[in-house]
């Protein structure tokens, strides 16, 4: 892999906390890598294992879920359920011989704009070091005709 590798990372962000923190990072004009693209969810409890696997399958170099601080979930415990699902997907990736660190769970409050930026930087650095997703590394065969 070359130095020029720019990962694509999808972040599933809870609208009550992480999404608002991302907005706040904007208001504060904090800078973080453009590799992070946010998909908003009403609660991280909505993020299904299938959604995470779908992103990996599609070629995501990194995927993370960002929810409220533990104990502060707007819907009681959605963030705790999300953590369990992230943990489960990490296991699956390990079984597939893929780095589990490509998937992560973070917790932050809506007032934590700087933390959002930090996480974005941390995750981008982490994935840069890991290199492109093995899903994308192989030349993909043409899909067999029906």
């Amino acid at each position: 892999m070359s130095d020029a590798f720019e990962p694509t990372i999808i972040a599933f962000c809870c609208k009550y906390c992480a999404y608002a923190a991302a907005d706040l990072a904007g208001s504060m004009r904090l800078s973080y890598p453009a590799n992070i693209k946010i998909s908003q969810v009403p609660c991280t409890g909505r993020v299904d294992i299938v959604h995470l696997l779908k992103a990996i399958e599609d070629g995501a170099d990194g995927v993370y879920v960002a929810g409220c601080m533990e104990g502060d979930c707007h819907f009681v415990s959605g963030n705790l359920k999300a953590l369990k699902r992230v943990t489960c997907v990490k296991k699956t990736l390990a079984e597939l011989g893929m780095e589990p660190e490509r998937v992560e769970m973070f917790n932050l409050s809506s007032a934590m704009g700087p933390r959002f930026a930090e996480i974005a930087i941390e995750m981008t650095d982490r994935i840069r070091k890991l290199g492109p997703s093995p899903v994308r590394r192989q030349p993909q065969p043409e899909a067999a005709a029906e």
Binding site: D48, I49, V50, L53, K54, I56, E57, T92, E95, L96, G97, M98, P134, V135, R137, Q138, P139, Q140, P141, E142, A143, A144, E146
Partner: protein, 224 residues
């Protein structure tokens, strides 16, 4: 219900290694209820297998479907239009599923994606426990609704053995000693005397030991 566990990914991968196009078939019966073989798990396994193939740079098409039940020929019949479009079919039903599928479509290969484990129920969400061994001769009325055949590690009829610890079986702290529970309940109900009679040896002919079983209800069997 019948409880099952998903097989390990590598085991499933080994089964379908020579396939380029496979069909995953879930079942809406027991395995959906025990969260192992419904549409969601079909999607999860399909995505996982596709990722695996992509990592290896190997072509693989995985399609997903769910049958109402895989243990009834009429539902199995519904796969007919598509079943031959695949190199193999992976069933996420209990052990019954792939066999019914196999019988219906002798030309196709069918693989199991789950290990069928026991007859039981959910004691809490995400925890299932064995309750019945399907021995064919129910005796739980002797034991106040608790079955030592299925739930004692040694299937003792005249337990408890002497290895239980704080009400847990000697083989695992997660398993209740059923004999401890039986004794406790009988004691609480003041009917401990019931347990002083020696339960004679069980007749295992009705169990799997008597050979594969068939259940026939003459009044239900359709003529012709």
């Amino acid at each position: 219900m019948i409880v099952a566990d998903r097989k390990s990914l590598s085991e499933i991968q080994d089964m379908v290694r020579d396939c380029r196009k496979i069909l995953l078939v879930g079942c809406k019966g027991c395995v959906t209820v025990c969260n192992v073989g419904g549409l969601k798990e079909v999607q999860v396994l399909a995505a996982t297998l596709r990722i695996a193939a992509k990592i290896e740079g190997r072509p693989l098409i995985v399609e997903e479907t769910v049958l109402e039940r895989q243990c009834d020929p009429e539902y199995v019949e519904m796969l007919k239009p598509v079943v031959d479009n695949f190199d193999a079919v992976v069933s996420m039903a209990c052990g019954v599923g792939p066999q019914f599928l196999s019988e219906a479509y002798p030309q196709q290969r069918f693989f199991p994606a789950v290990n069928t484990t026991f007859f039981g129920g959910a004691v809490a969400h995400g925890i299932w426990e064995e309750r019945c061994a399907g021995c064919g001769t129910c005796i739980i009325h002797y034991f106040d609704g608790m079955c030592p055949v299925a739930r004692c590690s040694k299937s003792l009829m005249n337990g408890p053995c002497g290895g239980s610890d704080h009400g847990k079986c000697e083989i695992s702290r997660n398993i209740n000693c059923i004999w401890d529970m039986i004794v406790r309940k009988k004691t609480e109900q003041g009917r401990l005397n019931d347990l002083l009679d020696i339960v004679p040896a069980k007749n295992w002919q009705t169990a799997r030991d008597g050979g594969p079983r068939q259940s026939r209800r003459e009044e239900l069997i359709q003529n012709g």
